[in-house]
Symmetry: C2
Subunit: 337 residues, 2 copies
């Protein structure tokens, strides 16, 4: 039995791989009409979700997804040891207000659009380390709350460049457990913040591709695996152009991943939906992982995948003060069982 972490490596592995015993996903109408629409548990008819603000709608989605994951695992909130959650809103209010309503001991995370995988990685470490039996992980994002916070007032209807992505409206949640039925998390690779000097908050693909390539290459080197060990290598929200750039960067590092490199942001919308570069946001990798990918594993269509969520680490303030945009990517290996 190997030690869980060898000195100097970025990848940890789990001696008793934690089990994803339940997942839940809620998405907006646009996501429900996309190619993966059938794999989500609930589709909103109205992006306000009956609330007075988009922010309240986002929080409600996250809370419902988390409750659904808890119920599907046959649990009550008081049976869950920790809630790990985050979102894109300032001071992660969607997650914090959900934590208030659920009453589970709460660890707030901020990994930008990589937060779901930061949570899965940390949750698996808490369980395999012996500190928890059940961990709830969840994230949310909402097109309208993100657009007005990071870019322009939503009502202004600014024309978006073709390399811009579309923030996914949705929430995803999963219960990780020490024992149970479901796919298992076998490895996690925690990313470094990588900055190639890109500064355009519309062009997230170019910002995040170097971080994705860095984490994937590090994971493959640490585990001494080749890309074809995985049925799929799935990045979070690089979009069309970012995915191509990541493939090129990986080739420069000696890894040919072409045919098996997918991106949740590309998968979630069809070109006819005019999402430009693709989907983004915490919920993008969240709902595609907890919806489509887990279903693919359970159905036996794939045996294992390397999920690599990507996040851009900037704020409106850092952008206005002339900073470039660092990015991060966290990877998790999920295997069917």
């Amino acid at each position: 039995m190997p030690a869980p972490k060898k000195n100097g490596l970025q990848t940890v592995w789990f001696q008793s791989p934690p089990v994803i015993i339940s997942t839940a996903t809620i998405v907006g109408g646009k996501e429900g009409q996309g190619p993966l629409g059938q794999t989500f548990d609930k589709v909103l008819e109205d992006n306000y979700y009956g609330e007075k603000s988009w922010e309240k709608a986002e929080q409600r989605m996250l809370e419902e997804a988390m409750q659904m994951a808890i119920e599907r695992a046959g649990l009550q909130p008081q049976n869950v040891d920790f809630m790990l959650g985050g979102d894109l809103l300032n001071q992660i209010i969607s997650a914090s207000f959900t934590a208030r309503n659920l009453g589970i001991p709460y660890l707030g995370l901020y990994g930008a659009c990589a937060t779901m995988y930061e949570g899965l990685a940390l949750g698996a470490m808490l369980i395999d380390g012996g500190f928890a039996d059940k961990v709830l992980v969840g994230v949310s994002s909402h097109f309208a709350t993100a657009e007005r916070q990071f870019r322009y007032p939503t009502e202004q209807g600014v024309q978006r460049p073709l390399y811009a992505s579309w923030t996914v409206t949705g929430a995803a949640a999963a219960i990780l457990a020490r024992e149970g039925n479901g796919p298992v998390v076998t490895h996690a690779t925690i990313g470094r913040a990588i900055d190639f000097g890109q500064g355009d908050p519309q062009n997230m693909g170019a910002v995040m591709a170097p971080a994705a390539a860095d984490t994937i290459a590090r994971h493959l080197a640490d585990t001494q695996r080749s890309p074809d060990y995985y049925d799929l290598i799935v990045t979070g929200d690089l979009g069309t152009y970012g995915r191509e750039l990541a493939e090129t960067l990986l080739r420069q590092k000696g890894y040919e991943v072409g045919g098996r490199l997918y991106d949740c942001g590309v998968m979630i919308y069809s070109p006819e939906q005019d999402p430009h570069a693709g989907g983004s946001g915490c919920a993008c990798s969240g709902v595609v992982t907890c919806g489509y990918l887990i279903k693919q594993l359970k159905a036996g269509c794939i045996k294992r995948f390397l999920g690599v969520a990507t996040g851009a680490l900037f704020s409106q303030c850092s952008f206005q003060q002339g900073e470039t945009i660092p990015a991060i990517a966290h990877a998790v290996v999920v295997e069917g069982r």
Copy 2:
């Protein structure tokens, strides 16, 4: 040897308690002139710290504190397995830009003003769980960046009520290690988000005292210890009125903590400095813990303390949309050795 966590408890304990092998603190001029001024490693003469913005100054403080902690431990950044960091700024840009410059695998946290203790708790779990040998934990806050983000433009000079706190300008960092010399982290109690319906973002003491009392009572019940087991029980930034309220709430729960309940926010300024209710911000519990408290342990003046950092989980947006303010408190036991 007990299991690290018993089912249903909020407290985890460490089989091989991780060691705080180094700490570093940087503070602003006001904090340097306070009663604990001599316990900090560096005092800024200028709150811009030679930078063009307060935000850049805050990020520089955090980076310097983290580098100082790494050097004092006799390490290089590449010897550190994970960096756990956060701050109060939208999308925690101080921590994320520091992570970019240090290049250490990075897990971004948001626990409001409780972030230092969220980091110490998680860092200790990652080490005791076998996933890391060295973890860097750090936080920052800055009066001017917090004031303009959460309340009013700093230049406006709004009159502050007497129950308002003063955000500490500073940064704190610590290296946790599997082995080495220094105080050890023996237990951690992760808090729940508690909301008593308070909605005034100036009155943080009233917001956070219920969360502090909840976590302290839970910790004492989980460990079956009485308050006098600890030389000090030190909350993060409740301030004068919040500390009194926490004492009252704990009495209602059956715990008399009076003489040993201190608050970092009360300790860091003298009444002559006119801080109103006291200090607050991520750096408040951060610098008092990594400065004064650790020095007290090392000097043998105290044997152990229960640190209980407190955080208010709100944003400008949630306040404007009429939400009340939930709060959280995370506790860590540190013992001299």
